[in-house]
Symmetry: C2
């Protein structure tokens, strides 16, 4: 399941340069799964054609990086390794010091915390590295080097995007259901009911899609998690939910909803962008746009509410700070 060369040819990013044995090197590189060092790649290539010089391989790796096909990674070995970058979002690594395999993962929560740290120092973060060194399961349970797939495929991105979307959707559904129950204003309540209805519907769609994905590859579910999230699903709505349960008026509820939808939209937008044009991106973006619609609905309703309740000097105004 590595990205096939055909796949790649079609979508070749890269600037307008020639092709020749560069193509060959690129193909060998993409056929592989792990994180190759330049030397590993030279060896692989020499197996099939020993007329290719080390310099060309280095130059081609350079070119692949510019073209967005490869990405340099540094596992502290004193030399660099390269991983496929095409349709592969930046991610973090677990690195086994015993068998030298590495495993990829992403955690939206870790990323969020890193952003907080950077902003606490007014540091403009461009990119980040998270590496966990240790011993992998296979190595610690005895068995030496198992030839498992270390590469995360698109199927897994899609699976994890769906999982995250589903969890968030559930949490949103919960939220709106509770909001509807707790909102006294009829109009406000009906908005929440409508939103809950839509969340439920979308949730159904997502779950169907998840099942469909699994049916395409029954082993998919048991493959290790790539994208970890906690705050994503829970955090977005949880502050809102907490305040709701203390009882709020319709205006406050709408405001809370707006905040949640906006957060959710931004969140999925951001992850969608990260996943380039893989199927994972589709899911994130679709989700983001759904959230955006909700957001707009809420904003419209909020404006309506303000207009109706107008500039009457009612005390509720002070709730504006919520």
């Amino acid at each position: 399941m590595p990205t096939s060369s055909v796949d790649f040819e079609r979508a070749r990013p890269a600037g307008g340069k020639r092709s020749s044995k560069r193509d060959f090197i690129v193909n060998v590189f993409l056929r592989q799964e792990g994180h190759l060092s330049a030397d590993d790649l030279v060896d692989l290539i020499r197996k099939e054609d020993h007329r290719i010089s080390r310099a060309t391989v280095y130059r081609t790796l350079q070119w692949m990086m510019e073209a967005g096909i490869a990405r340099k990674v540094d596992f502290g070995e004193g030399r660099f390794r390269f991983e496929p970058a095409y349709r592969h979002p930046r991610h973090f690594h677990l690195i086994c010091k015993s068998c030298n395999q590495s495993f990829e993962f992403l955690s939206s929560d870790i990323e969020a915390l890193m952003e907080e740290v950077a902003s606490a120092r007014n540091f403009d973060a461009k990119q980040s590295v998270v590496q966990i060194y240790g011993t992998c399961e296979d190595c610690s349970t005895g068995r030496p080097v198992a030839p498992k797939s270390g590469t995360t495929t698109e199927m897994i991105f899609a699976r994890d995007a769906l999982r995250m979307a589903i969890a968030t959707e559930r949490s949103g559904l919960d939220f709106y259901t509770r909001a509807a129950r707790l909102t006294h204003d009829a109009r406000g309540r009906s908005i929440f009911q409508k939103l809950a209805e839509e969340e439920k519907e979308h949730l159904g769609t997502l779950e169907a899609r998840y099942k469909q994905l699994l049916s395409a590859d029954p082993q998919l579910e048991s493959r290790p998690t790539f994208l970890f999230f906690k705050g994503a699903a829970n955090g977005l709505f949880s502050q809102g939910a907490e305040r709701l349960s203390k009882g709020v008026n319709d205006q406050q509820a709408l405001m809370i909803g707006i905040r949640c939808e906006r957060g959710s939209h931004r969140f999925f937008q951001k992850y969608g962008e990260r996943f380039e044009d893989s199927e994972g991106k589709q899911i994130f973006m679709e989700f983001a746009s759904e959230e955006k619609q909700h957001l707009e609905l809420l904003i419209r309703e909020y404006k309506g509410l303000i207009a109706r309740k107008g500039r009457r000097p009612r005390k509720a105004a002070r709730t504006r700070r919520a």
Copy 2:
């Protein structure tokens, strides 16, 4: 404020090898603040004594690592840098690509999440690297290379240990106060009251200590945060607090308290160990032992409760919910 050579002489870790100009190199290294490359160190040393060869510097760095004085760090520049390790816990880095300065931080939350990821993959994590690359405040606001201290001193460790301890103490105080209010059983309630009392007292001690620390160096408070925490302070008690507010009986309350104290104790124990023999360690360890006492108190009380209520098939416990 760098660890002085005297300081270091006294506590010299290192195995029983000779000293000579090695001492000189070590001293020059420890005098510096930032993260030096081998070459930086050679340059610095040659300023004072140009009879020292590059090889010796490399060999001495090697020795310093074995002795626990230095630690190798890799900022992806194609060469290594070295940072002081003596009384310096492992930490994470913000790395400015523009001025090459680096800033240290630690985040208990990020660490906790990394542990979760590792354990989800049955990966035995030994150590981890977190690096945030970007542009530092000074560089993005125009002014070029400011010669600020990149090194985190013991004062800051102590400050942050205290901050974390205080936050946790507050959260514990809250928790026990609420627990006392919600516990119907007189004995259980008095336990919680006692614990709350102790938390309050210890909180006072900690706050006094914090003030004292600040008075020793008024600028200390404004220096950037080294140790970030959120879950540490809130998380430990929050699940407990949530359950409490739904109403619990004395036994359940005790159980929750036990869980919280145990978590808290382990947490501070762990961070204490990380901070070697700096003042930060003292604070963490002291805190850990306070928590341990509470824990033991709770366990004793729990056992007493069980013994008293014994094997009566009491239903009363359940009906207690408010």
